[in-house]
């Protein structure tokens, strides 16, 4: 058998595993950034929704994206059975698994906006609907030979397809779910509902950072010329620059070296370079990551001031940085590297590519937001609301949705306080449950 075919298959298989491990990164990110009374629930539902997404992707998602159809949607190859795909250059099953992982990441990002207040049933239903009606159309438009691919839209590994799409669904959810209890005061000022484990959050960023080498470098789906190494270098540089930028900007503006902001900066750098990692020079990766780190800082403040409670900062990390990353190729794509589309503005390509990128962002963002919003609004009326009751939210979703705490030894002893009194803790202040 052809060596290149085998090597391609092995490399993409390794990448698929790395991307699936990113789900572990999201588990740590989301639980670390939220309170311990919801930890078991958040960790568990993330695995469950990846399961749902995998089944739906196998049944219909893959076909809707990569099947033969029209410029809007694919309509063949449902219930993929492991066959080879002509002209692919690697194992069809490996490619399928790699794409399954991407779809799983997108829904996981979307669920960041649901954290600490959505009902378990909402996760189940929306995981199915998103995996059929939101993600596949956009993925088809850009990666499956759809209408944006025809325009030469550059989105190498999915700043738009995976991240912006997930973030727009998260935005729809945060608007419909409304802020968590205690997030805002009567005068409109916001409270910090601190996550319970900053070490988890930091580890999550490392896990995601490493996983991103599969996400971006794996998206070469080939080993030709070792180009994946260049993509990985760009990815690493952007993450590094994002980390430093977010730390610097938070130190300058709020006077504190904010750890959580620094971690968000790393992720924003990664999200931003996702679209452009194969199209830009290494120095541009540093610039793209650095700008993403600053952007995420202001974006988080922007959403918080507008009373949009986004517990994991999905809107800023994946949304704002996703938009910037997609637009960035319109500035920085070089003539040598622009294997898709045109060079960017800074390389004599004029505004053409930037226009295509902007069009992609607007259309995909609007589509993901509107469809998610409509789906969730319909679910809200049919499912008796999207949100758990006030009592359940205060009790914590570990207990209300699953009947057991993620940290039973720690939280069991505080349970009686919940049942017997309206306020919690002897001092009348809320205790961390």
């Amino acid at each position: 058998m052809d060596t290149t075919f085998l090597l391609n298959s092995v490399w993409v298989m390794v990448s698929a595993v790395l991307v699936i491990l990113m789900i572990g990164g999201f588990i740590l990110l989301e639980t670390g950034s939220t309170r311990m009374k919801n930890a078991g629930h958040i960790a568990g539902k993330t695995i469950l929704t990846f399961g749902i997404s995998s089944i739906v992707f196998w049944a219909v998602g893959y076909g809707l994206i990569f099947g033969a159809g029209n410029v809007l949607i694919g309509l063949s190859d449902f219930f993929y059975s492991g066959y080879e795909v002509e002209g692919l250059g690697l194992s069809g099953a490996v490619f399928f698994l790699f794409q399954t992982a991407f779809a799983g990441i997108s829904i996981t990002i979307a669920f960041g906006g649901f954290a600490e207040r959505a009902k378990m049933s909402v996760y189940l239903v929306f995981a199915v609907l998103f995996s059929i009606l939101v993600y596949p159309p956009i993925a088809h438009w850009i990666w499956g030979g759809g209408w944006l691919a025809e325009h030469g839209k550059q989105d190498f590994a999915g700043s738009t397809v995976v991240h912006l799409t997930g973030a727009m669904a998260a935005l729809a959810a945060t608007i419909l779910l409304k802020p968590r209890i205690g997030k805002y005061n009567k005068d409109g000022s916001a409270n910090n509902l601190y996550g319970h484990n900053q070490v988890y959050t930091a580890l999550s960023v490392l896990l995601l950072w490493v996983g991103w080498f599969g996400f971006n470098a794996g998206s070469t789906v080939a080993v030709d010329g070792g180009f994946f190494g260049f993509v990985a270098v760009n990815t690493n540089l952007a993450a590094a620059a994002g980390t430093i930028a977010a730390m610097i900007i938070s130190w300058i503006v709020i006077g504190k070296a904010d750890v959580s902001m620094m971690l968000n900066g790393a992720l924003a750098g990664l999200v931003a370079i996702t679209a452009s990692c194969a199209f830009v020079d290494t120095w541009a990766s540093v610039v793209i990551g650095f700008i993403a780190g600053i952007l995420v800082f202001y974006s988080i403040r922007f959403f918080e001031a507008r009373k949009i409670d986004d517990p994991i900062y999905a809107l800023s990390v994946h949304g704002a940085a996703g938009v910037w990353g997609t637009l960035s190729t319109g500035f920085f794509a070089t003539p040598e590297l622009a294997s898709v589309g045109q060079p960017g503005l800074f390389y004599g390509g004029g505004f053409e590519q930037l226009g295509v990128q902007a069009l992609g962002v607007v259309v995909c963002g609007a589509f993901a937001f509107i469809v998610s919003f409509v789906l969730l609004a319909i679910m809200k009326s049919f499912m008796g609301g999207l949100r758990v009751t006030e009592e359940e939210e205060i009790m914590g979703l570990d207990m209300s949705e699953h009947g057991v705490y993620g940290y039973p030894e720690l939280l069991e002893s505080e349970k009686p306080a919940i049942k017997t009194t309206g306020t919690f803790g002897t001092d009348g202040k809320s205790i961390k449950v």
Binding site: N185, A190, N191, G255, K256
Partner: protein, 323 residues
Amino acid sequence: MAIYKSYTQIRSFRDQKISQAWSHSALLNDFHDELMKQTIALAIRTVEDRLGPPRSPYCFFLMGSAGRLEQGIWSDQDHGIIYDSTEPEAQEYFLALGKEFVEGLAEVGYKVCDGNVMASNPLWCKSTEGWNKQVSNWLLDSSWESIRHFLTFFDARCFYGKDYLTSLKNSFFPLLHRSCMLTRIIENTMHIKKGVGVLGQFLLETHGPFTGCINLKDTAFFPYVNAARVLAIRNNSVKTSTVERLQQLTDIDNRERFITQFIKLQDYRLSYGLHSDYEAGHYVKINQMSKQQQKDLKIIIKDGIQLLNHVKEIVAKDDSSWA
């Protein structure tokens, strides 16, 4: 002077009259002293009715902002007792008196101290001999906690009874002038919350009920108070108010400027503080101040840091001259 029969009466007196004392920091502190005097007098009568007259002469002293005569509208309790007796029953009596002070002052509107720095706590209610031993131990121990205790104690002002404080404080200056002691003390007070950022902007609260406010206590008062205290220790001065401490000093440049800035700072807190309760009293809503006042406050904050750094240098120089 009216004789009050209950703490509630004193509280109503406070509520009626405090607005008249609002205009000026010195006036306000006189008013606080008057209120506390009435409260203490009532507490003493209550305890004497119950337990008889005190077993010995004693001194009731105030610490914290009350000790320094720098209280805002709301203030918390920081106080202690020195009694001149070695009998074990004496402590029992004065602890009971301390407890009555705490309850009375709380009813009148002085928040109970979170750190339990109060005369009802045996740590802060001791005989002259006990205090001698305790303060020496604090200074010999020189741990972070014992230095904090000492610094709290050093702001003590005799409020009622016989002044045992001055001689007690004076007796400790030799211990304080041991090599590197002042450096150790100032290092314990260098951590100041930043109030102005590197771009010259205010660093305001970004979350919680005081969003958009600046915490004047942490960002602006602490540098002045801590610097003046260390200078007072260095100069063997037992004065407690920050302004008086600064006034006595001849070896710092811009002395008058620092004094003016600190007085202005107190006035800003009084005029623009939130004042709804003790905690809120530390916060100022910046957008209620005029542009000029904001500029002024930024300079006050920066000057405080400059003063503190200056004192650190003076102390370091002393240390190197010993070495």
